[in-house]
């Protein structure tokens, strides 16, 4: 399946991936509204790690055998049979953070602004190409099969 991969040599640390991810997961999906009028503000699911001149975006790897789905005690995390994406059901989630405990990529975050639930990349099911990839100004993210 296609996944998002980062090219750290050309990541410029602009964080436009985080911004567009937030907008895509907001209520209005309009950038100005999402930032200025929605409370609580949506959360980006991709994180840019940055230190000492190195930067790159990291998000859920949609593992073939996801530890998070296994650890989830409510069954809120599961692997979509068709797309292969590991999806999170916010209705079932109780915020126990087992997924955070087992994800070796640290790709799951606590939703700090709204309900006490986990937050992670869903591979933008409504889009052909995830918005982080489409909006990276330096093509530092690719969406491909490996």
């Amino acid at each position: 399946m296609k996944r998002v991969y980062a090219k750290e040599e050309v990541c410029i640390g602009c964080r436009l991936c985080e911004i567009h991810c937030l907008v895509e997961h907001s209520k209005s999906k309009k950038i100005v509204k999402a930032f200025r009028e929605e409370f609580p503000r949506a959360m980006p699911r991709v994180m840019v790690e940055e230190k000492g001149g190195i930067s790159f975006a990291i998000q859920c790897r949609h593992c073939d055998e996801p530890y998070c789905a296994e650890a989830c005690m409510t069954g809120a995390l599961s692997k979509d049979e068709e797309t292969g994406a590991v999806l999170h059901d916010s209705e079932k989630c109780v915020g126990c953070w087992m997924c955070i405990m087992v994800c070796p990529f640290g790709a799951i975050q606590r939703d700090k602004q709204g309900k006490k639930i986990a937050s992670k990349c869903d591979l933008c099911p409504d889009k052909e190409i995830p918005v982080c990839v489409a909006n990276c100004p330096n093509e530092a993210l690719v969406f491909e099969e490996r």
């Binding site: 040599e9 050309v10 410029i12 436009l16 911004i19 930032f35 001149g53 909006n135 100004p137």
Partner: protein, 506 residues
């Protein structure tokens, strides 16, 4: 310490309703213009630092930022313009030579914009490049006075031994830009694009990075007055060698790369210690006469077994024609002329803006003189200095050039906004910098693609213009001044350019 009298050149206009305080502008400005103030939750911009490179404008996800000329007016004065006044303030404050980057911005006449091309009508039908083959291929090098064909084997074979030639699929070459002045990623993109498009690029006086040796077939290496990076492998990996005597942006003086831009990789490539200023002397200290030039040309040919053409690059100055004649007679296979508009990574402003002559005039005179002396075939002419589009290129070839060097245009294709701050080492587009953080912004994959796109576009346009003139091979246009007419030029201009005024027939 007294106040500075230098007011901002640009003004940042931020649409506060659209600004989402994402901080991209703050993170992306290498000049530290924008800063997020968490107490007031707003981005504050310092106009005094803005250089007008538009990085923030391009990356702002809501198009909230715009940059305009700072509308601060001096009392109208045709002589004492704002610019002239500010230059004096700067020198009064620093005591330093005014430095700048890129090419001459002053409003000297652009002769390309006063020349128009012909088109075929009725008597000489035009050719449709989408249906008929068009030959844009160009060979650079010494052409023989005559050729002899050997028929002894039954089939015609060329008996004359040709001097080494360079093959270009388009009459365009990427101009000399040194590694050090531009980033490694930019060099890589130029090398890759040249290879993909079947043309060449020029290393400039910065030497050649080892990782780029694999593009040697498409590389012209330069031997400049500082001899940076010149060694056996360097000469042999390339397809041609160019002796840089001068450049259009700063005729008469040598190159200058500030020590801040000399890191580990630049140091290794140029063969100088890390952190030292790379100063090229004004003359080659082994060329003090035309005979010395001949000696160097042949030394280079010997070192490369006469397998590669040797070019000599000079700035276009008053007696370019005589100099060019001497260069050809000294054994050069290519004469490269760099005009008044030529770009640079760093040059004293006074020299860049006031020394040298426009390439159009130099080209016409050099081509004329070499023809008159019967030696035009002995060297190809490469011209450089502010070529902006395919029309400029077609006109240059009609005026007599074999091919055109593009420098600024290539950088612009890769994202340059011609803000002229290359000499600071801070380039928000990752081009004219050695800062590894800034260099990342030039993704070689994207830059290569953009360069190849530009060449492809210009190639098609050249074909269209040729077809329009009823020509299907660039060779038929070369030096064919009858295809040009001058518009709004004086008699002297017309005479120097060797073209007729528009309105005059065949």
């Amino acid at each position: 310490m007294s106040i500075t009298l230098l007011e901002p050149e640009f003004k940042i206009i931020r649409d506060d309703d659209r600004c989402i305080r994402c901080g991209v502008c703050e993170r992306q400005c290498g000049f530290d213009v924008h800063e997020y103030d968490p107490d007031d939750d707003e981005i504050v911009s310092d106009n005094t630092k803005c250089v007008g490179c538009h990085r923030c404008v391009s990356l702002c996800p809501t198009n909230a930022v715009n940059i305009v000329r700072n509308p601060l007016h001096f009392k109208t004065n045709a002589n004492w313009t704002g610019k002239v006044i500010k230059d004096i303030y700067k020198q009064a404050e620093t005591g330093g030579v005014l430095l700048t980057g890129m090419g001459n911005p002053k409003p000297y006449p652009i002769y390309w914009d006063h020349m128009v091309l012909n088109a075929s009508q009725v008597t000489n039908p035009s050719i449709d490049p989408l249906r008929e083959p068009m030959e844009l291929r160009t060979y650079l090098g010494r052409k023989p006075d005559k050729i002899e064909i050997d028929y002894s084997s039954g089939e015609p074979k060329l008996a004359t031994k040709l001097a080494p030639q360079l093959t270009l699929e388009l009459p365009i070459v990427f101009s000399a830009m040194s590694y050090g002045a531009i980033s490694y990623n930019t060099c890589q993109a130029l090398a890759r694009a040249a290879t993909e498009a079947g043309i060449l690029y020029n290393t400039g006086e910065g030497g050649l990075h080892r990782d780029l040796y694999k593009y040697g077939k498409n590389t012209i290496v330069q031997c400049a007055s500082g001899r940076f990076g010149v060694h056996q492998d360097y000469l042999n990996v390339a397809s041609a060698i160019e002796i840089k005597v001068g450049q259009g942006a700063k005729p008469g003086i040598g190159g200058h790369l500030p020590g801040e831009k000399v890191g580990e990789a630049v140091s290794q490539t140029r063969m100088i210690p890390v952190g030292t200023d790379a100063l090229s002397p004004a003359p080659h200290h082994d060329i003090y006469s035309i005979e010395d030039l001949r000696q160097l040309i042949y030394a280079l040919k010997e070192a490369t077994r006469y397998e590669k053409p040797v070019s000599v690059k000079i700035a276009a100055v008053h007696n370019s024609a005589a100099i060019a004649s001497g260069i050809v007679r000294a054994g050069a296979d290519i004469v490269a002329l760099d005009g008044l508009r030529g770009g640079t990574g760093a040059a004293p402003t006074m020299i860049r803006d006031n020394v040298g002559i426009p390439i159009e005039l130099a080209l016409a005179q050099v081509d004329q003189r070499l023809r008159e002396e019967g030696i035009r075939n002995q060297a190809s002419i490469l011209v450089a200095g502010g070529f902006r589009n395919s029309a400029d290129i077609v006109k240059a070839i009609a005026l007599g050039a074999d091919a055109v060097y593009i420098g600024t245009a290539a950088l612009v294709a890769m994202g340059c906004h011609v803000c002229q701050k290359c000499y600071t080492g801070i380039c928000n587009w990752g081009i004219a910098t050695q800062d590894p953080q800034l260099e990342k912004r030039l993704n070689p994959d994207i830059a290569t693609r953009r360069l190849v796109n530009l060449l492809r576009a210009w190639g098609h346009e050249i074909e269209e213009m040729l077809g329009g003139m009823g020509i299907n091979a660039i060779e038929s246009l070369r030096g064919n001044r009858l295809h040009l007419r001058g518009v709004g030029l004086t008699d002297t201009d017309l005479k120097l350019l060797g073209i007729k005024p528009a309105g005059e027939g065949a």
